[in-house]
Symmetry: C2
Amino acid sequence: MSRRGLFSEERSAEVVVDSFGDGTGPRLREILSSLVTHLHAFVKEVQLTDEEWRVGVDFLTATGQSCNDVRQEFILLSDVLGVSTLVETINHRALDDTTEQTVLGPFHMVESPDRELGANIALDGGGEQCLVTGRVTGPEGTPLAGATVDVWQANADGFYDVQQPAIQPHRNLRGLFRTDEDGRFWFRTIVPRFYPIPDDGPVGVLLERTGRHPNRPAHMHFIVAAEGYQPVTTHLFVDDSAYLDSDVVFGVKESLIRQFVVIDDPDRAAKLEFDSPYRAVHFDVTLSQEGERMVASS
Amino acid sequence: MSRRGLFSEERSAEVVVDSFGDGTGPRLREILSSLVTHLHAFVKEVQLTDEEWRVGVDFLTATGQSCNDVRQEFILLSDVLGVSTLVETINHRALDDTTEQTVLGPFHMVESPDRELGANIALDGGGEQCLVTGRVTGPEGTPLAGATVDVWQANADGFYDVQQPAIQPHRNLRGLFRTDEDGRFWFRTIVPRFYPIPDDGPVGVLLERTGRHPNRPAHMHFIVAAEGYQPVTTHLFVDDSAYLDSDVVFGVKESLIRQFVVIDDPDRAAKLEFDSPYRAVHFDVTLSQEGERMVASS
């Protein structure tokens, strides 16, 4: 006698996949079949021991139990294993000449306040003063007037306003700008600092055990949108930041790194109400037209 | 310029694996490298969308948050995906002529009470009366006297004593026996019933969405041990049980299924203080000598 559903080491993944009933949606079946196949292949490849399996179960349990209203440890785990960036990349492949996307991150949790072009979004005074300029265009260089440029960043100590509600001014280092008739935007801020992701939970232990630091290199977040175009969620990275080669969440893309030039010119500084020297960076953003984005390659 | 640590879709898993530092233990590195490689391959294979990634994060989070002192939802998840049985199988491959191992399960949480051979472990009266006989031997048929036979099972309603502490007698359907000088054991009990694993959490939703029932076929648990031999943790399955072809945790092995014969003989029944007809099953257990077990095949 041979029973169809019985487990065997050789056919282990197939047996599990075969257990999915007729009512299983086709996409769920596709996802779970691939997941189970890879999961079983992993267990066999490393010949996972009982004890290692138990450590894995305990780790996943602790990760789930670390989640609360203000912390999502499974997203952190996905981030530090490169899964978040991979999913982001697969789903938002940029056309050759458009600005690359990168992860949204967990700090776009409040609406950025409307600001006039040129406004200073650094309300807490610390850090190196910095002028940000740029232009939003379509793929052929068409300037996009009235595009929205949503910006948020950490302060000179590496914290977002929402992490320090008692210390930082309300909506510090956030702004929603609209480009002028020539597609240009500009604003004043400070150079952001690198910062660690929360590393006092299970993911922190994983980083420590694998000899990794918990830091993200210095960056400003941007969401740029214009009618008739695909919006882009991206970062502008500071080219002399620490950790640019080892972003803990693998969010850095070469095309998003810019030099923050030191400008030692008291006159120009005075016009900006800056001290001299200050820093300046230029970041052009190219959007693709709606429907133009690549959906899949590979 | 090209930065070594930067993420790319093509090299995504390599980039993550390369981030592990020198301090990473060699076994941890081996496990995580394989895990990350399979995880990234899975994401690419199914082209996981942002929304599907979020559903996955939410599912894992809910699974972690369902765990408490008396429930381990991640073990359940591992069980229903066949991972627990796979790990068990890999780590406890039986030699050709020895009894196969299967999963321990979550209900061996209290010590079984010492019982005399022949004792009736069914203290709650329900169910079909059943005589269990068997013999513990070494690989060449050598009878093993004084071997311990630890037995536990569900009652006729499909519940273990620890699940119904207010209803079932203390240590109902549990017993620790010692084989006689001829290696034999025997005891009286009832035929166990199939039962569902807890299906009111995230794992239950997964089963429902994949058209699977939550049941395990009827079985008795055994841990058999003798000095100088490898102990075996296994089940004895009831051959006419429902769900034998579709155990939700994939624990059934062909070699562990036995007929529970109906005996319609008032005289033999009377000697056992049973009603007639009753059921009888024979289950021989063969242990391998210490050090004899296969550690790996693949």
